[in-house]
Amino acid sequence: MGCYMRKYLLLSVLHILFATSVAHAGSDKSKVYSIGIVPQFEIRHLRKIWNPILELIEKNTGYRLELKGSPNIKDFGKELKAGNFDFAYMNPYHFILANKAQGYIPLIRDNGRELQGIIVIKKDSPITSIKELNGKKVAFPSPNALGASLLIRSHLKNKFNININPVYVKTHSSVYLNVLLDQATAGGGIYKTLIKQGENIQASLRILHRTPMVSPHPIAAHPRVPLDVRNKIKETLLLLGENSVGQDLLAKIPIKKIGHASSSDYKAIESMNLDNFYAN
């Protein structure tokens, strides 16, 4: 109870803080912008996460951001490429595509962590070197999962020139179970999901290899959005990261530690030629 009371108080404080900025936001007050969110969760869940944030932005800036859902990642990618969203939250690979196609400008990203793919095998597996995976069955959640699939597959091919037999098993947990139950020799995942597995499972697996790290999902804006609008929204988002209520809201996106994002942050990914591995 006490916890909720404190949250409520803090929200009120935030409102007072923002009140000053609302006052000189006058001119484009009624302007509505669209925001596209990568459909990594179902739409209802996404709204639950994003709506409180979008409401705060509106209160603070006067700009209303309207959440636009896409039925799946593929459609989302297409819409992004077509420049249908004023703002968008997407994975780094999509950002590369959107940046190339429409010139989307990154505003913020999670500075608290980097994306890195891991290759796991069974603890008692005789495999010691990554090269031994050549021709073997390797499980991935889906073809286009960035860390757990695209990064790893491109890495294996580009760096080690290894041909694997990929199977897509929908989820990260499924990947680990497939490895554990000998349905696949190895599996692609990310560290964050591995440590969420049960202790037994973690203890029965070992990480054979890690890919280079890449920056995580940015929130980017279409170049057509006026600069001051972009800046105001960027400021507001960065402001959220400065108090615990805002941090809690951001953590659900998930953004651990909000910070600036620039196009250079995604140069490494661009060089990976993920296009060759992306399934359209």
């Binding site: 499980a139 199977v167 897509y168 098993v169 929908k170 989820t171 990260h172 947990s173 499924s174 680990y176 179970l177 497939n178 554990l180 139950l181 000998d182 349905q183 696949a184 037994n200 499972i201 029965s204």
Partner: protein, 582 residues
């Protein structure tokens, strides 16, 4: 009638008997519940449980197949874990093996230990005839079983309660409708058995007990009426027994006097109280009393003849020890499994005295008659034969008539004398041993002259040598004369009278056979009585006093023999007598 007022202690009364089927029913119900119904119900419950569990498991298989097909082991696991959570009370363990015999679930969990209620259900997961693997479900029947047992127990308890209520109700009703009326009836009827026929019977109910009560009531009235009747009859009989002048005495097989009527008191001069309970011998002359025990002993108990020698004459003894003649007849009757002898005794002192006076009178009269008659006969004999007188023809025939009538009169008087002697036991017998055949030859020879007069002839057709008898020769001669003269009288002139003997077992039988008219059946019975002839009207014609056969019978019987005859009307008669040979 002796009344037994016994209180019976019975172990298995009517109430117990009525309760027994209920009790047995209870045991059967209990046995059926415990031994048959409960196990079968449990078995059925178990089968149902397996079916329902299999059904649930089957409903799971499409999603499992989906997960296997898409290699989505995570959803496979969460699916299974979810199901295990939902059914956590029953589902203890699931094992999923794919077609390559690889275990897809679980990863780490071990099979639970076997328990009595842990059932293993195997289900092949398949779709469109394609097999994807086998699911082994270890499901615990414990809870469902407990629930089933709870149900079973509830039903059992209720059945027992309902049965108990029925049993108690039927016990109460049986007590009210059967036991109570019967005990009531028993109490009343036991009063009847004590002679209280006026005790009130319970109200007649409309059932079998009512019918029984009714029929007991009717029986009670009948018994009461019979009892009154019996008492009346008994009074009457007692009056008869008490009023007869004859003595009526009953004794048992030991000779102990049981009853002694006023007639007996009068005759023997004893009051009944002094005789009842004592031996009958006290009422007998000493020489008879000596043998009385033996008489009773010798009584043939198996014989159908229950009358022991009717009208036997004996000597009895009065209280003052004086002896007197009696006539006794004894009847034997079985009463309460014991022989009871009833003696009817008549004091014949007076009759004997009258008989004696009569005999003496006859004897005196006969002697007085015979003396002058002998003189008359002698005179007549002298006139006709001894004096050689020339008499006129008419006088001669008159003399013959006179002579014949005198002779007849003498014969009659002789017979009467013999008869009265025999009757008053005044005749003495002199026994001697002699051979029978010479005796018979002599007898025939003596009587032949008489036969000749009648135109008849005696032939001794068959005799036995060296057969001796012990008898009074003169008296036997008298019998022979009587039988031979009778035969000659009735025999036709052209046919002889045949005499022959037969011997068997120390008995000699002497037969005298004639070919006369035979004896009419109406006379056969009284032939040996006094003054009897085959035809009363014929007496004069054939002559005789009618006492001959009676006298012969008395003589033969005095000598321990028997006399009799066989006859056929129109063909003749055979008279015989039998004597013991020595």
């Amino acid at each position: 009638m002796p009344t037994k007022n016994t209180t019976y202690t019975y172990r298995f009364g009517i109430r117990a008997k009525l309760l027994l089927p209920i009790f047995l029913g209870f045991i059967i119900l209990f046995a059926v519940l415990i031994l048959i119904w409960q196990p079968s119900q449990l078995k059925k419950g178990k089968a149902d449980f397996i079916v329902s569990q299999t059904k649930i498991l089957k409903s799971l298989s499409p999603s499992l197949i989906q997960s296997i097909l898409s290699s989505d082991l995570s959803s496979l696991h969460s699916n299974i874990e979810n199901s295990l959570r939902i059914h956590k009370n029953e589902w203890k363990y699931i094992q999923l093996i794919n077609v390559d015999k690889q275990q897809l679930y679980p990863i780490f969990d071990k099979k639970p230990d076997k328990t009595k209620t842990l059932l293993e259900i195997k289900l092949q997961i398949e779709e469109n005839a394609e097999v994807f693997g086998d699911v082994y479900l270890y499901t615990d029947w414990q809870q469902a079983r407990e629930k089933e047992i709870e149900n079973i127990n509830l039903i059992s308890v209720w059945s027992i309660i309902i049965f108990s209520i029925i049993a108690i109700m039927s016990y109460i009703l049986q007590t009210l409708w059967i036991y109570n009326p019967i005990t009531k009836l028993e109490k009343i009827t036991s009063k009847f058995s004590l002679g209280e026929y006026d005790a009130t019977l319970p109200k007649v109910t409309l059932d079998e007990i009512g019918l029984l009560t009714d029929s007991i009531d009717r029986m009670r009235h009948k018994i009461k009426a019979s009892l009154i009747d019996l008492v009346d009859k008994e009074k009457m009989q007692r009056a008869i027994v008490e009023s007869v002048p004859d003595a009526i005495i009953t004794i048992d097989t030991k000779g102990i006097v049981q009853s002694f009527n006023p007639g007996a008191e009068n005759i023997f001069q004893y009051p009944a109280s002094e005789v009842i309970g004592k031996n009958i011998k006290m009422l007998m002359a000493d020489d008879i009393a000596e043998h009385h025990d033996q008489y009773i002993k010798n009584f043939s108990y198996s014989s159908s003849q229950k009358v022991i020698r009717p009208n036997r004459e004996l000597l009895a003894q009065k209280k003052d020890l004086s002896e007197f003649p009696i006539e006794l007849s004894v009847n034997a009757k079985i009463i309460d499994d014991e022989y009871l002898f009833t003696g009817i005794i008549r004091d014949i002192t007076e009759r004997k005295r009258v008989d004696r006076v009569k005999s003496e009178f006859i004897s005196t009269v006969s002697h007085e008659l015979r003396t002058p008659l002998t003189a008359i006969k002698g005179s007549l004999d002298i006139i006709t034969n001894g004096l050689n007188l020339e008499l006129p023809h008419q006088a001669e025939s008159m003399l013959t008539v006179a002579n014949r009538n005198v002779e007849r009169l003498l014969n009659l008087i002789n017979d009467i004398l013999d008869f009265s002697k025999l009757d008053s036991e005044g005749m003495d017998f002199v026994e001697e041993q002699f051979e029978i055949t010479p005796f018979l030859n002599n007898s025939i020879e003596i009587n032949q002259e008489y036969a000749n007069k009648l135109g008849s002839q005696f032939i001794f057709t068959h005799g036995h040598e060296d057969i001796w008898v012990s008898a009074d020769k003169n008296r036997l001669e008298q019998v022979m004369s009587n039988l031979l003269s009778n035969a000659a009288k009735y025999s036709p002139k052209d046919k002889p009278v045949e005499i022959y003997t037969e011997v068997s077992n120390n008995i000699i039988r002497i037969n005298i056979k004639d070919y006369g008219p035979g004896i009419a059946s109406e006379f056969q019975n009284k032939l040996f009585e006094k003054f009897t002839q085959s035809s009363s009207g014929n007496t004069r014609q054939v002559g005789g006093t009618g006492l001959g056969l009676n006298i012969s019978k008395m003589i033969i019987e005095k000598m321990g023999g028997t006399i009799g005859f066989t006859t056929e009307e129109g063909k003749g008669s055979t008279f015989y007598f039998e004597l013991h040979s020595v």
